[in-house]
Amino acid sequence: MTEWWDKQIQRADHLAPKANGSKELLEFYAQLLRAQKNIYEFLRGHKHWLPSGDLEHDLPVVVNALPGFLRVVESCGPASLAAEAADLSQADPQVLAERLMMYWGNASDIQFFEKAALQPYLRWVADSGARPVGREAAVGERFCPFCGGSPQVSFLQNKETTAESGNRDLICATCLSSWEFRRVVCANCGEERPAKLGYFHSPEFDHVRIEACDTCKHYIKGVDLTRAGFAAPIVDEIDAAPLDLWAREHGYAKIELNLVGV
């Protein structure tokens, strides 16, 4: 699974120098991915320990994995995040533990530290064969079947060797798992009428598009891996941040904000 993190990091490093408007976002995200990979490796390498999936039970180990992550945010993040990271570094570990537990019970995409810290933990929970415990996970095809999280980004990928069309998957914003989801369906409200679903493309981002719903006025970005097989959806989604601003200007709200807050 560390290869997965490496792929995201390499993609962010590759895109950042060439990025136009989102250069700063990608440079930060590359550093954040490295910090998340370190959390993952710390948890995976912790001797005589496997995650139970119950965060309350696993907290002592998880909190021990976070100082390096906080230092990265403090040194690379924008002023507000850096100040908060500095405060958390100085604070009693119990403060961070309580924040993580609150997020565990009721996840929100505006809680940067909690979301970023628990993504690698939940990935390791998934990879080790455990399941999240003690969460009131939402149920339904638009929620992650593993942890109940909302979708961060969708992507199209060929699954039939003879098919040219891409099957659609969603990536969970909470645990970064992916699950199959139907095409031509709103990932937020389940709208299926074609006239209500708009797909917005721009030649500047050939393989990324806005998948918007005129019924619930929400959108998610879609990355087409049949056009760019080397893309990493959660990274390319950040690279295409200008599309987010365009969507907001046109009255659409994002289902789940990413870790740079767009």
């Binding site: 408007g21 003879t162 098919a163 040219e164 907001r248």
Partner: protein, 193 residues
């Protein structure tokens, strides 16, 4: 004070520029946004008309839903969620877009006269009239009301009808009624889906 997600996002993304929810400056992102050329497409799930396999397709239509704009098909692909074809299409189905958008598509009736070596354009009125005249003449001359054994058969063996795969149910219904009433035996609507 408890701040809702909505309030939080509103206060940090006012006017498009400003900063992101986590404090990143979005001025350069906003500048790039201004230069984007955005096109809206619609994806409509449908069924390939060509054969009885009935593969699922997704038709991509370009258009911004403006009142007087005519949407244009820009792409047709196999529907990966369809249980029959799971995203695959045969070569004929894969060329379905060209059935809809094709500058070689005939827009007027044509006729090749006896002895002629080329097709000539004719008007719809001429075509309808000529079909009616030739149909009546052929039917009058070759209609079979009784067979050799004296059984009443009321059939017309000198006219045939071949339908197209993209003909609608309504057209096929009318074709069957018309051909049956003329006594035509050799007809095929290709209504298999």
């Amino acid at each position: 004070m408890e701040v809702s997600r909505r309030t939080f996002i509103k206060t940090t993304l006012i006017g498009g520029a400003g900063v992101s929810v986590f404090g990143f400056s979005l001025a350069p992102v906003y500048a790039q946004t201004q230069g984007l050329k955005i096109a809206r497409t619609t994806e409509t799930r449908s069924t390939c008309p060509y054969c009885s396999v009935s593969c699922g397709v997704i038709i991509h239509t370009l258009g911004d839903k403006a009142k007087n704009a005519i949407p244009q098909v820009v792409h047709v692909e196999g529907d990966p969620d369809h249980p029959i074809n799971r995203g695959t299409l045969c070569p004929k189905g894969a060329s379905l877009e060209q059935d809809i958008v094709n500058d070689r598509r005939l827009l007027n009736p044509q006729v090749r006269r006896p002895g002629s070596d080329h097709w000539e354009d004719i008007s719809w009125d001429v075509a309808v009239n000529e079909i009616a005249v030739w149909t009546k003449k052929t039917r009058d001359e070759t209609f079979i009301d009784k067979d050799k054994s004296g059984y009443t058969v009321n059939r017309l063996e000198t006219i045939g009808w071949i339908g197209g795969c993209t003909d609608t149910n309504e057209l096929n219904f009318l074709a069957v009624k018309t051909m049956r009433s003329l006594g035509v035996c050799y007809f095929e609507t290709q209504a298999r889906v």
